[in-house]
Subunit: 213 residues, 2 copies
């Protein structure tokens, strides 16, 4: 060890994330990141390698955060509240997209759309993330089934995949231009159509206040 770094690596990654998030991979210049972080090019390249490696770091952290948010909402708990936790997660994701007035979308979706086809690292990491989210959703659905809030004859794996698709789909249609109120309604509707246990009926169109977060 000789001269120590004068910058905080996490701080630099955060700034870099802002740039990539706002403009995508191709759209952000290393000069932008250098200016945004105050680092010189030499430090940047010395610390992170090159643009692709830097993006991989940022993308990786983002994916970790996406899963952590899901874990935060669905950290497990009493089966009686499993459906509430599920509802909370889906509504949170919808709200994130609905309130994204700048239309930046999610870096996971943006990065995958731009790079997954040609960059195995991005493709692999995004697939991993999907799998992790699926597992979390499936666990909560199973819990809700044990408590009788969801029809136990339904396949939790399939319901989990459906909910994941809805969550990622809300992000997609939001970026495509659907208005925030519609996005929130989609989350409600998706939760309302989940199959309830025998003898318990709901309307698909309405919110179910008892389960709202």
């Amino acid at each position: 060890m000789a001269r120590p770094r004068a910058f905080d690596e996490r701080h630099v990654l955060e700034r870099a994330r802002e740039q990539f998030w706002a403009a995508g991979y191709a759209g952000t210049r290393m000069d932008d990141i250098a200016r945004a972080t105050g680092l010189g090019k030499g430090s940047l390249y010395g610390a992170f390698g090159d643009k692709a490696k830097l993006f991989h770091r940022v993308f990786d952290d983002w994916c970790t955060a996406v899963v952590e948010v899901a874990e935060g909402q669905m950290a497990g708990g009493p089966d009686a509240e499993a459906l509430t936790r599920l509802s909370g997660y889906v509504h949170l994701m919808a709200e994130n997209t609905a309130s994204d007035t700048e239309r930046r979308g999610c870096l996971l979706a943006k990065g995958a759309a731009e790079l997954a086809q040609h960059d195995p690292a991005v493709a692999g990491r995004s697939a991993e993330t999907m799998t992790a989210l699926l597992t979390l959703l499936r666990t909560e659905i199973s819990a809700a089934q044990r408590h009788g809030d969801i029809d136990s004859a339904a396949d939790p794996e399939r319901l989990a995949a459906l909910l994941l698709t809805v969550v990622r789909g809300i992000e997609a249609v939001g970026k495509a231009g659907l208005d925030p109120e519609t996005l929130r309604n989609i989350a409600d509707t998706a939760l309302a159509v989940l199959p309830v246990r025998e003898g318990q009926k709901r309307l698909a169109a309405g919110r179910s206040p008892a389960r709202e977060n």
Copy 2:
């Protein structure tokens, strides 16, 4: 009129679409398009203006085609088959993504993700397209409700938004790495959870053969 064009404009647009589809906007070079079409740069710029205008033409055509495919599957018809038409559309979209082994995804999603934020033309066109798809879906859902295949107490607008989200979501999670079989299952599950009329019960997890396309 003097010297006539030696190329077919539609043909050039098709080739350009291939390029943009495969590599995105930033990722395709005008040189690529020139080589792919056999045109010289002069002809290209003379006929289409610049890269952005050329992309807008391609994107516009794509959006038109997306709506036409939906119209082809849901062109209206007897109410008795409305649910079948809906099912056919959702399964077709899932199959498109599932069989997209090159992971190119949909140019609508790719273009929106890359450009909608900064290009009002792309944002507007993609929003228009979403609205058109919503209308088609809502019409079929209403028809299925009239026939009694879907609970008439449900809001068709909301169910339409949910199905659109699932369709676009399948494309998103497909690009993110979920396997083809899972994608097909998602389409099945989404159709299976639609609220049926009173007295008619199904399991969310299984296919409903009578409604399969």
